[in-house]
């Protein structure tokens, strides 16, 4: 029971980001890093402490997930989007117990990519806010490509690992009403947000009032490394889904 409460908190089953936001002491970047760190702790903990699925905590996490989708739909900041996505996926972590560790790891890697994009925006466009910075694919194709990769990963499409682990755990479990609710919310929640961001960033005409900055070789290499990580996780994901 205690382990379940701890894990629910660590994995983002409770929207503690509300308190952090209201305190005014933490910026969105810190909240994202903090939430990601706690999720990583949860992943590590599940490998040590045997966990049992508790319907109550999964239901609480589902409520938190729905609320986070609502909040995420209103933000245009990559950092905020990042931590909202952690909370949106929390019920999946709780429902599928320790099986979902790899899913959470993949989520963290995809968020790492998004974090690097956010930092790029912060350095070159003044903040991690992507509002009005449209037409990335036409203006800066490399950034457009990498951002598309991350958003497709987050919207749960194969061959990227999140989708593969998501499918894999679904095949290994027995459906019940809560299972259906969690799967539908996570499946469409991630998709809805990723597509929304894609429409507002990757697509559209380049904004003539903005000086678009091309990525340096070093930045491209960093993204290539994240992509390679996703690729490796994807190979494991295929194995996991098929065997």
């Amino acid at each position: 029971m205690i382990a379940s409460i701890v894990l629910t908190l660590l994995a983002g089953g409770v929207p503690y980001y509300l308190l952090l936001e209201r305190s005014g002491k933490f910026d969105s970047k810190t909240i994202l890093l903090f939430s990601a760190f706690l999720l990583l702790c949860a992943v590590a903990l599940t490998s040590v402490v045997p966990m049992r699925y508790e319907g109550l905590f999964a239901t609480i996490a589902l409520g938190s997930s729905l609320f986070s989708i609502y909040r995420a739909a209103k933000t245009t900041n990559f950092y905020k989007l990042g931590y909202h996505l952690i909370f949106i996926n929390a019920p999946f972590f709780i429902l599928f117990e320790s099986f979902s560790a790899m899913y959470s790891l993949s989520l963290l890697v995809a968020l790492l990519g998004l974090f690097i994009v956010a930092r790029f925006y912060e350095q070159n466009y003044g903040s991690a806010n992507y509002h009005h910075i449209t037409g990335i694919m036409l203006a800066t194709p490399y950034m457009g490509t990498f951002l598309t990769f991350y958003l497709i990963t987050l919207s749960l499409y194969p061959p990227f690992p999140n989708a593969l682990y998501f499918l894999s755990y679904m095949f290994k479990s027995t459906p019940d009403p809560l299972w259906y609710a969690v799967v539908i919310v996570v499946f469409f929640g991630n998709f809805y947000l990723a597509m929304r961001v894609m429409t507002e960033t990757v697509f559209g005409k380049p904004n003539p009032n903005i000086h678009y900055v091309l990525m340096s070789v070093r930045e491209k290499m960093t993204h290539a490394a994240v992509f390679a990580l996703l690729f490796i996780l994807g190979i494991y994901g295929v194995k996991e889904a098929l065997l």
């Binding site: 598309t148 499409y157 499918l167 027995t174 469409f188 429409t199 697509f203 559209g204 005409k205 098929l242």
Partner: protein, 536 residues
């Protein structure tokens, strides 16, 4: 050697990776065409192998298979892919994102090959989703256009729904039957069909797969994505109308033995297919936009394809989707050249058909055409039905015969009117032309359809017809009876109304309302837009 055929789904991905590093723009289409012709050759070799050895090629732990269905569809998709790539070489040259286009094109073909060649429901689920994302990126290729991106979102929403329904169906199948291997499952389903058990879960699974297929194949009410995606580049439209929409039919063919256990699902498919075919064809005639009209034409054809599945004519659906695919791809790919020619000559299409069917002969009466048509259309049908019944009574299936006849008639007429410009005044020539095309289509369809059926399902084909016939015969009778009654009532009412002064105007207003309803596509989009606006 034959195991190389199983690499077909991986080859387009390899091409995409190579294209990513090619620096010379002129090399991009060349590399793409040369390497994808390898797929066509491998596909043809695979088909030769399956035909001569009478055995499928299986590999990768049984996840991938090159069987009878693949041996028909893979060469078709590969040749279509080659034509589209060749066409896109010049067509897309000045577009921003030339390389991106060819990379995405390879991804969509990879997902179609994987879908066709998968022998496992999980692999099928992966291919199913890969297709969605590849389609989304292609439909929104023109990233600078707001409407293209908006329509791509519509498309993606429907396809994501199809993905989820499909995954649920796979999960339930795995939990119910304990396997995801299609070979094992097909054998289990066939064995179960001889000892039918009343298991509602099988109905649910069948229905979920049907809904997923309907969503991907743009069957009503999930059709809204297809007519509005014509803003995508022409080669993408050709791939969409000739390849992507067919995946619903391919899926249902892969799961044919499951549907054997749930005749109710077949009946539902028949009804929905029928409604889609009729409504989409009516809307196609009424919408003012030529691109949307083409979109609705495809929706109607897909309705017809699902209807064939609902009648148990699974192999016929495959034949239909290939023929329709070739026809529609030709229409899309030829449109540019035709527009160019029409700019110089307003009498297009002219050529041979112009001399034969369009030379005005004002002395002839247009009304005669109907008499000739009736005479020449009824005779071959009566002959065909009679010969079929006398020669092979056991093989004659009522439902299948209806679908063949109707399809023969529709396709023949469509084929004739698409290629020839016909004048009402040339009654005999037009009637003979129509009937000839009908007879050609009918016998080609009969010959190839039956050969395909034998090749794909052998003796099992009859089981599908029997399963589909169980309830459809009664339903069809009731439907036909209702239709006759309604039409009878309508004519009686019309006769009566015409005699009463002042009522004729009301009839016209009804007709006008119907036209408005159809040309506004059933007000579905207005409703959805209003809902979206109120939501935001």
């Amino acid at each position: 050697m034959e195991q190389l055929v199983l690499l077909i789904p991986a080859i387009p991905i390899a091409i995409a990776v190579i294209l990513g590093v090619v620096t010379d723009k002129a090399l991009i289409p060349k590399v793409s065409i040369i390497l994808s012709s390898m797929i066509a050759l491998l596909g043809l070799y695979g088909t030769f192998y399956v035909l001569t050895n009478d055995a499928p090629i299986e590999g990768f732990g049984g996840y991938i298979i090159y069987n009878e269905l693949s041996s028909i569809l893979v060469p078709y998709v590969a040749i279509l892919g080659l034509v589209v790539r060749k066409y896109a070489t010049k067509y897309m040259w000045d577009e921003a994102g030339y390389r991106r286009f060819f990379i995405l094109l390879n991804f969509i073909f990879a997902s179609i090959y994987l879908l066709v060649m998968s022998n496992n429901l999980i692999v099928l689920a992966l291919a199913w989703q890969l297709l969605s994302i590849a389609l989304y990126l292609l439909v929104s290729f023109n990233v600078g256009s707001n409407s293209a991106v908006k329509n791509a979102r519509w498309t993606m929403g429907i396809h994501k729904g199809a993905d989820l329904v499909f995954i649920f169906a796979v999960v339930l199948t795995y939990n119910t039957f304990g396997s995801a291997d299609l070979g094992v499952l097909s054998k289990t389903w066939l064995a179960m069909s001889f000892h039918p058990a009343d298991n509602p879960m099988i109905f649910v699974i069948g229905l979920l797969f049907l809904i997923a297929a309907m969503m991907k194949s743009a069957i009503m009410p999930f059709h809204i994505w297809l007519p509005y995606t014509s803003e995508a580049p022409t080669p993408v439209s050709a791939v969409m109308h000739a390849g992507v929409v067919n995946v619903g039919g391919i899926l249902l063919n892969k799961l044919a033995y499951l549907l054997l256990l749930s005749p109710a699902v077949l009946n539902i498919a028949f009804v929905i297919g029928l409604v889609t075919a009729i409504l989409a064809s009516l809307i196609m005639l009424a919408v003012p936009d030529i691109k949307r009209s083409l979109g609705y034409s495809t929706v109607g054809q897909m309705g017809y394809m699902i209807m064939e599945v609902g009648l148990g004519a699974f192999s016929l659906a495959i034949y239909h989707l290939i023929v329709h695919g070739i026809f529609k791809a030709t229409l899309f790919l030829e449109s540019g050249a035709l527009i160019k020619l029409a700019r110089h000559d307003s009498n297009l299409p002219k050529r041979l058909s112009y001399e034969i069917f369009w030379e005005e002969n004002l002395k002839s009466s247009g009304k005669k055409a109907f008499k000739y048509l009736a005479l020449f259309a009824v005779l071959p049908i009566v002959l065909f039905v009679g010969v079929k019944m006398v020669l092979d009574d056991a093989f004659f299936e009522f439902n299948a015969a209806i679908v063949i006849l109707a399809f023969g008639w529709l396709t023949g007429t469509q084929l004739f009117l698409s290629f020839f410009k016909a004048s009402k005044s040339e009654t005999i020539k037009v009637a003979v032309g129509l009937v000839s095309s009908f007879v050609i289509i009918l016998f080609t369809y009969e010959f190839i359809g039956m050969a395909l059926e034998h090749y794909l399902y052998g003796k099992d084909a009859e089981l599908f017809y029997h399963a589909a016939t169980q309830n459809v015969a009664l339903f069809f009778s009731l439907f036909a009876l209702t239709l006759i009654t309604v039409i009878g009532w309508y004519f009686m009412y019309k006769q009566h109304v015409e005699e009463v002064p002042g009522m004729a105007k009301q009839t016209n207003s009804m007709r006008w309302k119907l036209y408005r309803f159809l040309s506004n596509e059933g007000y579905l989009f207005q409703l959805l837009n209003r809902l979206r606006r109120s939501g935001s």
